[in-house]
């Protein structure tokens, strides 16, 4: 550490607590409280990166979130490394490792810097214009651009850190802990409001907390001393929550705000372990006070980007707050009074200020007089026309400005310096205000956009509201806060304030040079490397809208969203195009204000908490029996149960055969179940299903098809009439929630007169389905009392029964075409019933089967699966299920649509069966179907929706939707694949047991 760059009289840095860290592999030291930027500057390191396009050396330029250059890669652990972090915002900790990003092979020797010598060849939109054509070359360019631009490296392993999210509700939220925010917080808290104050820094007090200057006093104390006392008093309020290191990321409608609190980023590596790294606060506040302050503007002149050129207010913070000298011989270049504060601070710390270049005519404010007394040379009505020094500034060249400010005149003076502070005035931080939907107004005197109208319960106070002088800040903040919070007396109404008043204002967006514009490099957007010349070129090329110019030149498009560059871009556009700035409008500031980590955005919803997993009551049995699982919505369903070394195909073939030859058992618990009760339940079913329900006898089951109002099949399932006014409806697994909400919608809004109540009972009952010729024998062992004769208990009927004294419902229904029973019982008993059935079925070699076998078995019978064989464009007629449409019913959901001109078209796609010429050939689901092969382009007339090899038929079978398919039965078609064309024949959809004999086997 270069000792002579640290002052010793500093109050914010703990100089007894030394911290070691690494930058670009080199071990360096700083102190507790340093940011990475202040620690680097204390080590005399300014050069931290290379510019994006020209690879010019770039140094630390600011001390806050607007930093465009010091954008570093932090950490080298493959799971924790973080790109694009601003050195000005990272507090150093023991073990910190950071490196430059935008340079290759190193920051001091950069190959891309040749771009700088060719820079006249790289105008605005160079990348667009050059690399867009020919398109094939992009691959080549991209390699070089990515390598040399190097926008940081992403982590390659999952993030090990813990992130958290919490809600926070309050009466008043104050964003920003500068002097106005602190006064507002105390006022609100004192008036018994539940108050929250947040600030993104680790200490409160903004810039006032280090303002120890004769020109700024409150009640006869230096403004920093006075504010420190005020901050002390905040601790006594129990109704005031203060969150430091908390950055407001987004301000949404209804005063809903997101703030990110950094909890461990500043801790030593070994202290971070097992702690929550960041917490995202979701804040709902009745009222919001924005006190986010202002940002200093740079000045736009030739070669204004060299390392060592730093915002004047940042130099002041580095010396006053961090005790770090940004240089030994400092020059300042300004258009306003604030640089004079910096001059005094530097002088107080023993740093030589060898010149101040001020574009204004001589002015006599309090603070200028103070500086004058110190004997610092002030060049009035002058401009810096050039800077020298490649990796660090070593001199500036000064010339007098012409009266109109458009040119420089006279002789050039060269001044040696190792640091240049620049100040182009101040920009209120109105980002949050505009994010919240507020409209801005333009103030011509000092060229600032200020908060105007907002629809939310909020105000802006302090410098983000355009008050830049201490006395104005205090006076106006107090007045606005009182009015906003409806408070009559305020502690701060009668403060005695001394404040220097700026008398003279002058602004030149693009400062003139003695060289022609084309020969200069006045940088505007430092991060994206665009100059004032690029803006002018864009305007010459005909771009007018600020949004277009922005995209064309990429000005303001970098990760800082143009925090430093936007105002100058607007100014230069307005000037060049001869428009008033206020009429030009601004670009949109979008959230987040500063980048958020993905970790903070997702919080705890990672890994197994990413989504809900629903498991059936016998899930553990499936796991124990080596089932493979399939995700169906949030459900885990047993897919197949491989034996020995079976693959899926082999397992499914075995399961399918066993289910038809002897018996199979399926976990059908995931099917949606809706309990329907009420005196109008039958009428309700009549209206929601296509078939008739009034005549369904108690104890009988019926299959129903549900349409959308547009006539398209929506869901299907079997519904059982349990008693006169009581039904149990089943839905598809995936459709359960949607069906319920659709039915509720009709009940509540269209048919409120119906006496019907719907309750989801999907999770309350589990379902064991046994099928196959031996299923009757197995069931009779499980429930000996139940009479299972076809007369007593026919297909499509239901019985109440008892298993070990536990009530259950047994339905004789079939989705496989086999004799089949489903036992519905309360979830907690399902697993034992399942195991009972397995035990009882042992002698019949009962075979558990999963969803894949279920799909195969139903396809053999031509039963559809909604969502697989239908896609929201199939009517029941398209599915060849005309039999299910009641002709007698006056109305049901979707009925009218079934004879719209489009739905009665004969050439609609219709469901058909497909058989391959080679019975061993299995079609791919989704494969296209064509009628001829030699015509080009070939018309695709349909596609395969379901396809399996049927072990029971010993051939491949498929379902497909084909244009006009009903009429094409028996016709030969083709399924062209990548390497061959498969010959197929259109058939009936039922492949097995057309007479339904197996149901009563």
């Amino acid at each position: 550490m270069s000792k002579n760059l640290r002052t010793t009289n500093n109050k914010f840095i703990d100089q007894t607590s030394r911290i070691s860290f690494k930058f670009d592999g080199k071990k360096l030291y700083g102190f507790k409280g340093d940011t990475l930027a202040s620690a680097l500057l204390a080590n005399n390191i300014h050069l931290v990166g290379r510019s994006f396009k020209y690879h010019r050396p770039r140094g630390i330029m600011t001390c806050g979130s607007e930093e465009p250059n010091a954008i570093l890669q932090v950490g080298n652990d493959p799971s924790m490394t973080e790109p694009n972090t601003r050195a000005t915002e990272i507090e150093i900790y023991e073990g910190l490792e950071a490196s430059s990003q935008n340079c290759w092979p190193s920051v001091n020797f950069d190959l891309g810097a040749v771009n700088n010598f060719f820079s006249p060849l790289i105008p605005a939109a160079f990348y667009y214009k050059t690399f867009m054509w020919p398109a094939n070359f992009w691959k080549l360019y991209e390699y070089f651009i990515r390598k040399s631009a190097g926008l940081g490296k992403s982590p390659t392993e999952p993030d090990k850190d813990i992130y958290d999210q919490r809600y926070l509700h309050c009466d008043v939220l104050i964003v920003g802990g500068g002097i106005s925010g602190i006064m507002a917080a105390k006022t609100a808290a004192k008036n018994n409001l539940n108050t929250v104050l947040i600030d993104d820094k680790n200490t409160l007090g903004g810039t006032t907390i280090f303002q120890e200057n004769e020109c700024y006093k409150i009640n006869n104390l230096y403004s920093n001393k006075w504010l420190k006392k005020e901050i002390e008093t905040l601790k006594s309020f129990k109704n005031l929550t203060i969150k430091t290191r908390t950055s407001l990321a987004a301000y949404h409608n209804y005063n809903y705000l997101l703030a990110r609190e950094n909890l461990t980023d500043h801790l030593d590596l070994n202290e971070k372990k097992d702690k929550i790294r960041q917490r995202l606060w979701k804040i709902r506040s009745k009222k919001v006070i924005i006190a986010t302050g202002a940002m200093e503007r740079p000045l736009i002149f030739n070669n204004n980007d060299r390392p060592g050129i730093i915002l004047s207010s940042s130099i002041k913070k580095y010396i006053d707050y961090y005790g770090v000298k940004c240089g030994q011989k400092v020059s300042l270049f300004t258009n306003n009074d604030s640089a004079y504060e910096t001059a005094i601070s530097l002088n107080n710390s023993g740093v030589t200020v060898n010149s101040i270049v001020d574009i204004r005519d001589k002015t006599n404010s309090l603070i200028v007089k103070e500086v004058d007394k110190l004997g610092i040379k002030i060049h009035w009505k002058s401009s810096v026309v050039n800077t020298n020094g490649y990796k660090k500034i070593n001199s500036i060249e000064i010339m007098k400005l012409s009266d109109d400010g458009a040119a420089v005149v006279g002789k050039k003076i060269k001044v040696e310096c190792d640091c240049l502070g620049i100040s182009g005035g101040w920009t209120p931080r109105v980002h949050l205000f505009t994010q919240s939907g507020g409209k801005l107004k333009f103030r011509i005197e000092d060229n600032v956009f200020l908060p105007d109208k907002s629809k939310l319960d909020q105000i802006s106070i302090g410098s983000c509201n355009g008050d830049f002088e201490l006395d104005e800040v205090i006076k106006n903040s107090v007045y606005l806060t009182n009015k906003f919070l409806e408070i009559n007396n305020n502690d701060y109404e009668n403060l005695e304030i001394i404040s220097s008043k700026e008398i003279n204002k002058k602004n030149i967006w693009l400062l003139p040079s003695d060289k022609p514009l084309g020969k200069t490099k006045p940088f505007l957007d430092f991060q994206n490397d665009s100059t004032a010349n690029d803006i002018k070129l864009a305007l010459r090329e005909g771009f007018k809208s600020i949004e277009h110019v922005k995209r064309y030149t990429t000005t303001g498009m970098a990760t800082d969203q143009g925090k430093l560059s936007n105002m100058h871009a607007l100014g230069i556009i307005a000037e060049t195009a001869g428009v008033k700035m206020g009429e030009l409008g601004t670009t949109t500031f979008r959230p987040p204000y500063t980048p958020l980590t993905f970790g903070a955005i997702v919080g705890r919803n990672v890994g197994k908490f990413f989504d809900i997993t629903r498991k059936t009551p016998m899930h553990d049995w499936h796991v124990e029996n080596k089932a493979k699982f399939e995700n169906v919505g949030q459900w885990k369903r047993a897919w197949y149960y491989p034996k020995d070394n079976e693959n899926m195909y082999e397992a499914v073939q075995r399961e399918s055969k066993a289910a038809r030859d002897s018996s199979g058992i399926l976990d059908a618990s995931t099917l949606g179940k809706i309990d329907i009760q009420g005196s109008d339940a039958s009428e309700f079913l009549n209206r929601v299903y296509t078939n008739a329900w009034s005549k369904l006898e108690i104890g009988k089951c019926r299959y129903g098809l549900m349409l959308n109002e547009d006539g398209m099949v929506y869901d299907d399932g079997v519904t059982t009439r349990l008693s006169e006014n009581h039904y149990l409806m089943t839905t598809t697994t995936g459709g359960a929630a949607n069906v319920l909400s659709k039915l509720e919608d009709y009940l509540q809004t269209e048919w409120p007169e119906l006496d019907v109540y719907l309750t989801s009972v999907t999770d309350h009952y589990g379902t064991v389905s046994i099928c196959g010729p031996n299923s009757k024998k197995i069931l009779s062992k499980v429930i000996p009392d139940l009479v299972l004769s076809d007369e007593e208990f026919p297909h499509m009927s239901f019985k109440n029964a008892l298993i070990d004294n536990i009530k259950c419902r047994v339905m004789r229904i079939s989705f496989t075409g086999e004799l089949s029973y489903e036992i519905n019982i309360q979830s907690s008993y399902v697993k034992s019933v399942w195991e009972k059935c397995i035990d009882a079925g042992k002698e019949f070699d009962i075979t558990p089967y999963g969803t894949e076998t279920m799909h195969l078995l139903r396809a053999e019978k031509g039963f559809i699966i909604t969502g697989q064989d239908t896609d929201g464009t199939m009517t029941p007629v398209d599915l060849q299920m005309d039999w299910i449409i009641s002709k007698k019913k006056y109305d049901f959901i979707g009925k009218r649509s079934l004879y719209r001109s489009d739905t009665i078209r004969e050439d609609r796609k219709q469901l058909v069966g497909l058989l391959t010429e080679d019975p061993k050939e299995i079609l791919e689901e989704g494969a296209q179907i064509v009628a001829e092969t030699n015509k080009k382009p070939i018309e695709m007339i349909g596609h395969v929706t379901s396809s399996y090899f049927s072990p029971n038929l010993n051939k491949s079978i498929a379902l497909a939707v084909v244009k006009n398919g009903k009429k094409l039965k028996g016709q030969k078609m083709f399924v062209p694949m990548k390497d061959k064309t498969i010959n197929v024949t259109i058939t009936d959809t039922v492949f097995l047991d057309k007479e339904n004999k197996r149901l009563n086997a």
């Binding site: 409608n253 109002e709 547009d710 509720e744 809004t749 109305d891 009218r896 649509s897």
Partner: protein, 91 residues
């Protein structure tokens, strides 16, 4: 993320609700007597205006009740909330 004052539960976060489109479109009592055009008018045509709009909302992750909301789509300000079957407030 605005707040909706469910007439049954009180004020809740928008994420608990789902929107059901334009309100006060009554399903025809005798659909079979409508022409294709008349039926299409009911089936497909919905307003989506910038400004004050009458909408249906469902408290999906709450009481599951449907109700009506008068919302300004340009700024999400909700002017009124009322139950199904109640008269809409005058525009």
């Amino acid at each position: 993320m605005f707040l909706i004052n469910c007439p049954y539960c009180g004020e809740r976060d928008q994420s608990e609700f789902s929107s059901g489109g334009e309100a006060h479109i009554v399903r025809p009592k005798q659909p079979t007597e409508l022409s294709d055009d008349q039926w299409a008018e009911y089936l497909f045509m919905r307003k989506n205006i910038k400004g004050v709009q009458f909408e249906r909302w469902n408290h999906t992750h709450g009481c599951r009740k449907w109700f009506n909301v008068v919302r300004d789509t340009s700024n999400d300000i909700i002017h009124a909330v009322y139950k199904m079957g109640e008269k809409p407030p005058v525009k």
